[in-house]
């Protein structure tokens, strides 16, 4: 692309905001009621796992598995619906499938680690509070954004069905899962490596979502980039 400096963010937006929001409506109509029920179960499960993750490594591992399933659900949305209006969506869907696989690997590795494992420094209070708020916002708060902006409930974005709340929940869980001590054995080293590998895609997805919403003129555009910054801050030791 030449004269790239002459392009604005909006030049890359291929669709109208109402077309984008209609995708959620169509996805809800197609999946009703099982997709919504599955999303609710996954959201509840991730919330419970996050609450227990600081003390119970197996809860953290299970949380990763559930989150992996949520990313698979969001990848399906990208491939089936978003791809109909955005030729970049298949690449985005591939990234979501990769993230789903990484999260599943995190979960399996965590479950495979002998229990009780080595002494583990618990997440900081900052990580617990930030993580809890972000997960709560993703699962219970995000669907309210549509009606609060004057859109119908049918256009609400659900965790495990749509990308943005799924990314937000991941940003919340991640600070809670960071190993407190340097890895000792092979399984711990693998878990630590997976933690780092599973970090870039949610961060990048948050930026992409923010840029897309910004180009559409949505007031919610800063939410995910701000949540990503908050999660990075919360994950610091």
């Amino acid at each position: 692309m030449t004269e790239w400096w002459t392009y604005r963010l909006s030049d890359f937006l291929l669709f109208a905001p109402d077309t984008y929001r209609r995708l959620f409506e169509l996805a809800h109509a197609q999946g009703w009621p099982w997709a919504q029920a599955a999303a609710a179960v996954l959201g509840l499960g991730v919330g419970l796992c996050a609450a227990r993750a600081p003390a119970q490594p197996r809860a953290a591992a299970l949380g990763c598995l559930l989150l992996g399933a949520a990313w698979a659900g969001a990848a399906l949305f990208l491939g089936r619906h978003y791809a109909t209006i955005n030729w970049g969506a298949p690449a985005l869907a591939a990234a979501f499938w990769l993230q789903a696989a990484l999260l599943a690997a995190c979960g399996v590795t965590g479950l495979a680690t002998p229990q009780p494992g080595p002494p583990r420094r618990p997440p900081t209070l900052r990580a617990r509070r930030t993580g809890g708020w972000l997960i709560g916002a993703a699962v219970a708060g995000y669907p309210w954004l549509a009606p609060l902006q004057g859109q119908p409930w049918a256009q609400a974005e659900l965790f495990a069905q749509m990308p943005d709340p799924t990314v937000l929940a991941t940003l919340g869980l991640w600070p809670l899962l960071r190993a407190g001590a340097p890895p000792q054995g092979g399984a711990e080293r693998a878990a630590a490596l997976l933690w780092w590998l599973a970090w870039p895609i949610p961060l990048a997805a948050a930026l992409v979502a923010g840029a897309t919403l910004w180009a559409m003129g949505s007031p919610t555009a800063p939410l995910l980039p701000a949540a990503a910054a908050l999660a990075c801050w919360a994950a610091r030791r």
Binding site: T6, L14, A16, R22, L23, T84, I85
Partner: protein, 327 residues
């Protein structure tokens, strides 16, 4: 020119309007005589509504096209949404029924090509589409494959016009398109750019290659093309398609805060800012047609209305541009 809509209570014609009418009549008597100039004769076929639309000749072939076309950027990219597809179909059908012909799209526009194809397959009216699409892929060797995929989406035997989108890989695509034209696989060949980008390269291609069309951005505020590209198009006998006449709606939103000047209604027959802007664009002698995009039937009819009624002369065009610039 006939068919101008006039409110019943409108005052008698002012002298400028009389002059415009005389100008219209004189131009109508010179079909195709002026290269790139407005020719106001009615087409020989198509829906009845086409009869009073301003038609302008494509210099390379003399073929006359309605001065207002239909763009599909963003508006026709609605995916698989059945309700939105029905809206787009209604727009396209109203456009063709209203005498419009030039429909422009690109493989870059998401699902727009498929939505057009869907709407055309359902069309049963007398309108005739002039199918303008683009090739937008690199490397250039993949051009024929993309063009064939686009043709299938439109559901047509061939395109009327194929343009190199944003000059992407134009060195490879242009020979391909020229060869297709020679083989009768496409009628016309062109290049496109938007928002003032790569004008130097556009000029160079216009100078060196026998393209039929160039597509550029032009409106009362974005007038850079008046300096070199439009005169060059007239000189070289190249048709001009104008994209983003409304700056993707932003220009109309800004203008909506101001009242339409009374002289625009009385002397030009404009019923709103959209017609004002379109009349300014298509009245340039070098411009063949503008391709505003919309997803509303009322708007497409209003846009087509800009191709009816008086055509502003050079003095009135200057006044139109100055008025918008001063707002």
């Amino acid at each position: 020119m006939t068919g101008r809509r006039m409110p019943a209570c409108e005052a008698p014609l002012p002298s400028r309007r009389g002059a415009l009418r005389r100008l219209s009549g004189a131009l109508a008597a010179l079909p195709g005589a002026l290269v790139g100039g407005p020719a106001l004769a009615a087409p020989g076929s198509g829906p009845p509504a086409a009869a009073d639309l301003l038609h302008k000749p494509l210099p390379s072939s003399g073929e006359r096209l309605p001065a207002v076309g239909l763009g599909t950027w963003i508006t026709f990219n609605v995916g698989a949404d059945p309700a939105a597809r029905a809206s787009c179909a209604a727009v396209l059908h109203a456009f063709l029924d209203g005498g419009g012909r030039v429909v422009d799209s690109s493989p870059m526009y998401g699902s727009a090509q498929a939505v057009i194809g869907d709407a055309l397959a359902r069309y049963r009216g007398p309108g005739q589409v002039y199918a303008a699409d683009k090739v937008w892929v690199s490397p250039g060797a993949r051009g024929p494959e993309q063009i064939e995929a686009s043709r299938r989406l439109w559901g047509l035997p061939r395109f009327d016009l194929l343009q190199v989108h944003n000059l992407l890989a134009w060195e490879a695509h242009l020979p391909t398109l020229m060869a297709m034209k020679s083989a009768g696989q496409v009628r016309h060949v062109g290049i496109s750019t938007s928002e003032g980008r790569r004008h130097a390269a556009v000029e160079a291609i216009m100078q060196a290659h026998p393209v039929d069309f160039v597509q550029v951005t032009y409106n009362p505020l974005d007038r850079e093309v008046e300096q070199r590209i439009l005169p060059l198009a007239a000189e070289r006998g190249i048709g001009v398609i104008v994209n983003r006449p409304f700056r993707q709606g932003a220009l109309l939103e800004a203008l909506a805060r101001h009242p339409l000047p009374a002289w625009a209604r009385t002397e030009l027959g404009c019923d709103g800012w959209a017609q004002y802007v379109l009349k300014y664009v298509v009245s340039h002698p070098a411009v063949t047609c503008a391709i505003p995009a919309t997803r509303q039937v009322a708007h497409v009819r209003q846009n087509l209305g800009a191709a009816r009624g008086p055509v502003p002369d050079a003095a009135l065009r200057r006044r139109m541009a100055a008025h918008v610039a001063a707002l």
